[in-house]
């Protein structure tokens, strides 16, 4: 039986993390930088919503405000962390492999699999605010060798087309999980069919810009829907230049999520 949940823009967790005081070692940009984060799923201080979906644990819609703002060097293990840049410039210093300094601009994205351990720092060094969506995914194995890959989505050439950015399609960035991330920028009146790989895969559809109809619901700016146990569904574009991220994940049997769902039946 098909299942779905909707998270409206305003239902997400909202954090404003300043670069001073107790967070000054974590948040760069002192004295006037700050990060804003809208979390679809529970993360850090925000624990009032869903714990995740399938292998997804974090879906964070973030803005780094002010030149020099971001996250200072900090460690990770295991999580596969993706960032998709929508505005400004993200300077990413990363220890995976031989280590690197990367600069990501609009349309650029990375997959950093922290595996057995890595550190990174993410900074917006220009005066323009940096806008990105962060996706954290449980890995299929623990303590894998760390890896870093980066790619670019060319929104001028790939309009009105479901483009797989991360996963197993040609040209997509690899990720150590049964997961695919696609992006769709499309014109009003168009319709696209999305078919997850199997009934055991769920799909999280996030409307970054514009308005769509999906699985019986109208979804606007920063609204999202999670859909499971279906062969496929349509994404109908209502507003011009709608920009949609689609994350398909294997639905692992996670006790934490099952418990939350049973406690919030009908939510």
């Amino acid at each position: 039986m098909s299942q779905s949940f909707i998270i409206r823009n305003e239902e997400r967790g909202h954090d404003l993390i300043k670069s001073d005081g107790s967070r000054s070692s974590y948040i760069a940009g002192h004295p006037d930088g700050f990060v804003t984060r809208a979390s679809s799923f529970n993360f850090h201080e925000y624990q009032g919503g869903r714990p995740g979906f399938g292998t997804i644990r974090v879906f964070g819609d973030e803005v780094f405000h002010g030149a020099g703002c971001g996250y200072n060097m900090h460690p990770h293990h295991n999580f596969a962390i993706c960032a998709f840049v929508f505005g400004g410039e993200l300077t990413h210093i990363n220890t995976a492999g031989e280590g690197m300094v990367d600069r990501l601009r609009v349309g650029d994205y990375y997959v950093f699999s922290a595996g057995s351990g890595g550190k990174h720092s993410e900074l917006s060094v220009t005066t323009e605010d940096m806008q990105a969506i962060y996706l954290w995914v449980l890995p299929e194995q623990l303590y894998l060798p760390p890896s870093y890959h980066r790619g670019h989505f060319d929104f001028r050439c790939r309009r009105n087309e479901l483009v797989q950015l991360v996963g197993d399609a040609d040209g997509a960035l690899p990720i150590p999980q049964d997961l695919r991330v696609s992006r769709l920028i499309a014109d009003k009146g168009r319709s696209f069919h999305y078919a997850p790989r199997t009934l055991g895969h769920g799909t999280y559809v996030f409307v970054r810009e514009g308005k769509i109809r999906c699985f019986g619901s109208e979804l606007g700016h920063r609204d999202s829907i999670g859909i499971s146990s279906v062969d496929g569904f349509d994404i109908e574009i209502i507003d011009d230049d709608s920009d949609v991220l689609i994350v398909e994940t294997v639905l692992v049997d996670e006790a934490n999520i099952r418990k939350w769902e049973s406690e919030h039946a009908g939510h």
Partner: protein, 72 residues
Amino acid sequence: MTDEPFKRLMCLGCGFSYDEALGLPEHGIAPGTRWEDIPADWVCPDCGTPKHLFEMIVVGYASGGADLARTA
């Protein structure tokens, strides 16, 4: 003693993992220490996330991964 299988847990703040079978000897937790026997005010040694924001996971190690986890 219990014959319950050893559990693995992962920090939702940074991905650090705790494996009951391995413990964290470098952080003073002996191998075989059950999650419930770790104090409630314990925090992730890497990022400071509180104990209650760890999630039990059923994920295997990559080749050689358990040895790396022992000294993480």
